[in-house]
């Protein structure tokens, strides 16, 4: 008894025609959207600007080519099979030839994938060793990165600089490389440092030190963000890496090394703001070098006004935003760990005036 | 042509006599596999944290080899094995005696552990909170002791049934399943003993 008659196939021509036109439209517009996104993005992993990212990019191109080839071959065969061998109403009732297997065929499609795997494995190992197992050049610069909920602390141990949220590094000339080595750990939970155009990510874990290196070759601002879920404001723990020419970098270092400005003779509001700041709980969490503010829980504010953003990236550093932030941080970054300071309007004004002077 | 169950041969012969393993043994083997995986994780944590405590007493300072308890526990494996073979031969009295011996030896083991813990907590100041050694020690030995307690409960129930004369030869397969669990508990103790008291010190 044949049951073929009971199951009409899905290949009826009317249903196919109905879907053809909108499907065709989609096939043209959607890739367009995708490629525009690639062109615009400042965090595109396929637009490397440093050696580790470039090495990963090279490997990824090889892997993508191999997997694309496999997809076209196997997918093509599958497509062919489901079309060529579909049941047609004109077929006889007899079951097709029952083929139980073939050792040679099994062997061939075991051996060929093994060879592909070996190739991929060897190329991958070469890139791993090229990134992780190379000696550190003497000219490398060191930065200690400490992850916090929800901001980044940067210390330049050999240069005596402490800052937060905006990392400045000198560019690296491929002829005489001066990479920046990041020695990373966390003060609380696990985070991850990811600036896609410069390098793959490395996790920032408490009670553990991880080391990675970056070597941007062109000046500019490189963006990224924390890539390991670390709590409520994980989404706004952004990364900003400023790659500068050696001269600009040296100038920046010099500026950052200075202790905080304490003389505000021309600016009464700032002077009063300094007093208010030093008499408030602010000093328990923040450091302003050269003053009684020596807290380490929150970012170092010594040169706050020299930064483009506050709150680790999502808010631009303008007096209005700064005032709003100090008044109630949770209104801008709900779930961040800085409490609302409950200052009156006057105090808010003067503290803002003070902090905007800390260049 | 329909293919109902009625058309499948019912008295067909098979190539060899058709016997499959007793399901109790397979089930217990699966349970032992899963429990072993749990214990292995605790042992791995113990080994990983050897020497990493930031403070407090170290194993060599406070641990002594629990020889007596170990001998009791390992002997209880012998007695439970004797109980099973006695039951298979329908020797109900020997079975009951050996079951009783197993429970007694197991209980003695637990008492020695309890005394050791009392000493560690009150005299050496080592608790689960003290340091990494305390954490990993109490959790591993405690997990094992919990399994001993469960085993003792099952064995005591069986002993009670046996004393009431309700355990017979046809139950020997089931008793063997229980004895497999008990052997597992002993084997875990061998590993714990080696890792904690020999290697770890």
């Amino acid at each position: 008894m044949s049951l073929f008659g009971k199951h009409p196939t899905a290949n009826s021509s009317e249903s196919r025609r109905k879907f053809a036109r909108p499907l065709r439209a989609l096939t043209y517009t959607l890739p367009l959207i995708a490629s525009t996104a690639f062109a615009q993005s400042p965090t595109n992993i396929f637009d490397p600007a440093g050696t580790p990212a470039r090495d990963a990019y090279g490997l990824s191109m090889l892997v993508l080519s191999i997997t694309l080839a496999i997809f076209l071959i196997v997918g093509g065969l599958l497509l062919y099979a489901v079309i060529r061998f579909r049941h047609r109403p004109t077929d006889s009732d007899r079951e097709p030839a029952q083929i139980y297997g073939s050792n040679q065929i099994e062997l061939s499609w075991t051996v060929i994938p093994i060879l592909i795997v070996v190739t991929l494995f060897l190329t991958t190992t070469r890139v791993i060793l090229g990134t992780e197992a190379i000696p550190k050049p003497a000219s490398a610069m060191d930065v200690t990165v400490i992850g916090h909920q929800f901001w980044w602390e940067y210390r330049y141990p050999k240069l005596g600089v402490v800052t937060a949220n905006e990392l400045h590094v000198p560019i690296s000339d491929p002829a005489t490389p001066t990479p920046t080595y990041l020695t990373m750990s966390s003060a609380d939970v696990s985070h991850s440092f990811w600036v896609p155009r410069l390098a793959g990510k490395m996790d920032v874990i408490p009670n553990r030190v991880n080391i990675m290196w970056i070597d941007p070759q062109k000046t500019g601002l490189y963006l990224g963000q924390c890539a390991q879920y670390c709590g409520t404001q994980h989404a706004k723990m952004l990364l900003r890496v400023y790659a500068q020419s050696p001269e600009d970098f040296a100038a920046w270092i010099n500026q950052q090394k200075q202790p905080a400005q304490q003389d505000f003779s021309g600016n009464a509001a700032a002077a009063e703001g300094q007093t208010v700041f030093m008499h408030n709980a602010c000093i328990n969490c923040h450091t302003i070098s050269g003053t009684v503010a020596t807290g380490r829980f929150g970012p170092d504010l010594t040169h706050l006004a020299s930064r483009d953003t506050i709150a680790s990236g999502p808010i631009s550093n303008t007096p209005e935003n700064l005032r709003k932030w100090i008044d109630d941080p949770n209104s801008l970054k709900p779930g961040c760990l800085m409490p609302a300071m409950h200052l009156n309007d006057h105090d808010l004004d003067v503290i803002t005036a003070y902090l905007t002077q800390l260049h | 042509m329909t293919t109902t169950a009625s058309r499948i041969p019912i008295d067909g012969s098979t190539e060899t006599p058709w016997t499959l393993p007793y399901r109790g043994n397979i089930g217990m083997a699966c349970l032992i596999l899963a429990e072993s995986a749990i214990f292995i994780i605790f042992v791995v944590a113990y080994i990983y944290y050897i020497g990493k405590s930031l403070s407090g007493p170290t194993p060599s300072q406070v641990l002594e080899l629990p020889i007596f308890g170990t001998i009791c526990l390992l002997s209880s494996s012998i007695t439970v094995h004797l109980a099973v073979s006695a039951l298979r031969k329908n020797n109900l009295r020997a079975c009951t005696l050996n079951l009783g011996g197993t429970v007694l030896l197991g209980a003695i083991f637990l008492i020695t552990t309890a005394r050791e813990w009392y000493h560690l907590i009150h005299d050496e100041g080592l608790t689960i909170k003290t340091n990494l050694f305390g954490t990993t020690y109490y959790s591993l030995v405690g997990l094992h002791a919990t399994h001993v307690v469960i085993g003792l409960i099952m064995l005591s129930l069986t002993l009670a049934f046996s004393l009431a004369g309700r355990v017979h030869e046809e139950h020997s397969e089931k008793l063997e399943v229980l004895s497999l669990y008990w052997h597992f508990v002993d084997a875990v103790w061998v590993v714990v003993f080696l890792v904690v008291y020999v290697i770890g010190r």
Binding site: S15, P96, E106, D188, S190 | T3, T4, I8, A34, A37
Partner: protein, 561 residues
Amino acid sequence: MTPTPVMEAIDETTTPLQGRPPLNVIYEWITTVDHKKIGLMYIVYALIFLVIAGFEAILMRIQLAVPNNHFVSPQVFNQLFTMHGTTMVFFMGMPILFGVGNYLVPLMIGARDMAFPRLNAFSFWISAFAGLLLYFSYFGASGLYAAGSAPDVGWFAYAPLTSKAFSLGHSTDYWTLAVFLSGIGSIGTALNIVTTIVSMRCKGMKMSRMPLLVWLYLVMSGLVFVAVSPLTAAQIMLTLDRYLGAHFFDTQAGGSAVLWMHFFWIFGHPEVYVLVLPAFAFVNEIVPVFSRKAMFGYPAMVAASVAIGFISLSVWAHHMFTIGMGPAGNTFFVFATMVISVPTGIKIFNWLATIWGGKVIFAVPMIFCTGFLFQFLIAGLTGIMLAAAPFNWQLSGSYFVVAHFHYVLVGSIIFALFGAFYYWYPKVTGKMMSETLGKWHFWLFAIGFHLTFDFMHIPGLLGMPRRIYTYEAGRGWDTLNFIVGIGAIFQAAGTLVFVYNMVRSYYKGKDAGHDPWDAWTLEWSVPSPPPAYNFAIEPTVNSRRPLWDIKHPEDPDADYE
């Protein structure tokens, strides 16, 4: 060897439902130890959680449809992705697969029930309780400063975020306890499945004659023992940390955050194979029947499945390439992960060879399996991309990974599961599901699936991390996230059509009879629905396809094995 006609006995479970008082029916279901009823309860329970977790996903996609959106707060969003992941894995995936296995395995091996029927019931009820416990957290977990409510630590709950210091209130404890209890249920069911397969096969069914579905459930259950247990152990450790002051993952006391990661992924990776092996099982049964050909390379399929099971235990740290294991560790796990692609590829090739030369009937089960074949191929290939560690250093923790694993979980497992539903629904209910509604279901769902998950790969390539409740404009992520959200709506629509189809077909579907698909395994030899005792007389089999032998006495399989 003469077949003897046997009267099909009538028992109370075949009396129409309407004739019995509702309280009796409820009592019967609550106290049942029948594998078929327990299987159905698992399935219905999982479908309810599928809808709930799907709703959680839709809320997340609305929040992410535009940058800097304020549809939900970060706290709520973080709970949503935690609950979505935890629910889908532990209270949808595991139960539904255990449910289908519970129903089919005894029938396919000619047994009357599972080896331990009461353990079966216990496992179901403890899993059911665990799911309710997890959702009770929305009401019960408010701790200090109402810091509780639903867990928000992510489905993998990394330490030390889960410690008392960083997770206030009891939300994390609801996660821990609910998942712990569901693990107990899983181990119980796996134990039942293994014992049933080893000890209760009907006469003549040597291991080499078992249906491939049974083999895959055997491997899957073995994996459950060695995979779920490490998670159970880690959760005990976490609870000791949180309540007794232990220091397993307390980094301030010298504990290690990485240790949790190892323990979790030693569970987590085999877990995804636990979820995918039953999907392979369904495809293994459906593709041959609808291609009208025996499975090509049965021994190779068995060997590949077992190999996948074993190798999957050695690849876990490919989830940890970014933690700084160093070249030796990274290289080892790259190798192991790439090796697992070999047996996986073998399976795909064998399915292809089964279709090749056949006469493929595109009924709805086969349509879903065809979708599975293409999508699983893609999922496997993106997996190979992720296996290349330096590439992984960019892709890990990004939306590329989310797209990859949804390609496996939805594109492969859910599609295979839908196919299995259409295939076995006639056996369970005695009615056929509507083919037309089935095709609507397929196309709506497939379009939605591709809109969502094809496009989801791209933000990952453009640097978008996962688990973020919002994102900056100007990174190229905006339109793509919007498209991803549109796809979710199509998938929801497809799922609604599916549920409607199931309900409607129960009352209005065509009668199915014993064997509507002209299939070859033992479950098709009993009435639809099967009587409580499954088989009036225990069958004897002589080959892998006992019903093929009966239908083709001139050319039985037994001659070729």
